[in-house]
Symmetry: C2
Subunit: 148 residues, 2 copies
Amino acid sequence: MNRQESISDKKEHLKSFIKTKGLKSTRQRDIIVTEFLKTEGHVTAEEFYRKINRRHKNIGFTTVYRTLKLLAESGLAAEQVFADNLTRYESLLGEEHHDHLICQKCGSITEFKDNKLENMQVKIADELGFQILNHKMEFYGYCSNCRK
Amino acid sequence: MNRQESISDKKEHLKSFIKTKGLKSTRQRDIIVTEFLKTEGHVTAEEFYRKINRRHKNIGFTTVYRTLKLLAESGLAAEQVFADNLTRYESLLGEEHHDHLICQKCGSITEFKDNKLENMQVKIADELGFQILNHKMEFYGYCSNCRK
DNA sequence: CATAATTTTGAAAATGAATTTCAATTTCTT
DNA sequence: AAGAAATTGAAATTCATTTTCAAAATTATG
C-alpha cells in the first residue's frame, strides 16, 4: 500500500464518519482534509489556517479550526498540547502511537516509540491498580543538532 | 528532620531567593507561602486563591497568582499543566521528581516514580542523540477506585 | 528617625487562544 | 425544484492568564 492509497483510504474513513454523524461534505472540508493529510509534523490551527489561506482566500479560520477538530474526533488526527500550551494537530496516516522529543532551542518536535518502554508503563500502572487509557510522554531538552 | 523543620527550611530558602533577587518580603507573601507549603496535592491559582481568601479577605487573586509563580521560579513549587489545560502548582517539600496518574472519572491525581523507567528514558533519548533536560509523563485512565 | 527609592499590592484592564453565535449560504433529500 | 438541515465565516464571547497603574508597604540611606 503506497502513501497515495493510504490518503484516499483516510478520506474514505472520514466520509463514512461524516455520513454516520449526519454531517455534510463540503468543498472547504475536502480542501482542508486533503491538505492536512499531506502535512507532516505538528501544526496549530492558526499555522494551518495560514497555509490554507495562501491558496484559498475564501476559507476562514473558523472552518479550518472546526475541521481539525472533526479530524481529531474521527481519529484521523491527534490533538496535542506541549509545554507552550498551544493545541497542535498531527496527521495520523496509519501511524501508531508514539511519543515526542521537543527541542527547547530550535523548537523541533521529533517522534519516537519504544515498545519496551510502553510495556513497562502498563506494568507499572497495573501494579498501582491504575488502568491506563492513554498516556503522554514528552522529553524536553536539546536535539542532536542543538546540543553541539 | 520532621515536617515542621522542613517547612521552615523552605521558607529560609525562599527568603534568600527573595533577597538575591532584590525583592521584598511582605505580609501577604508570608501568608501565601506558609499556606502553600502546608498544602497537599495540585492546586490551580484560582483554587488556592479561594482557599486563602476564606481567612484573608484582603489578599487579592493577583498576589496569590504572582506568589505561586515566584515559588515556582525559586524551585519550591512545580508548575504543571495536565489535559484540562489548567495550570496547577504542587509544593515540592523535599520531594523528588515524579510522574502523574490522572483519573478521568474522579479527577484524582496520584504520583509515582520508577527509577528503572527513568533510566530507560535517558537511555532511549541518548540513543537518539537527544539531551533531556526534563520530561513529562502522565497516564490517563481509571484509578483503582473508579475502575471497579 | 525620616525620607527617598524601590517594590508590592490588588482592582481593573488587556491579552490571546479557543470556542460560540448567527445570518447567509450550501448541501442533501425527496 | 423546494424544503429541511448542516455549514460557513466574520464577529463576538469566553475564560484563564498576564499586565497595568496608582496607592500602599517595605527597605535602604542620609
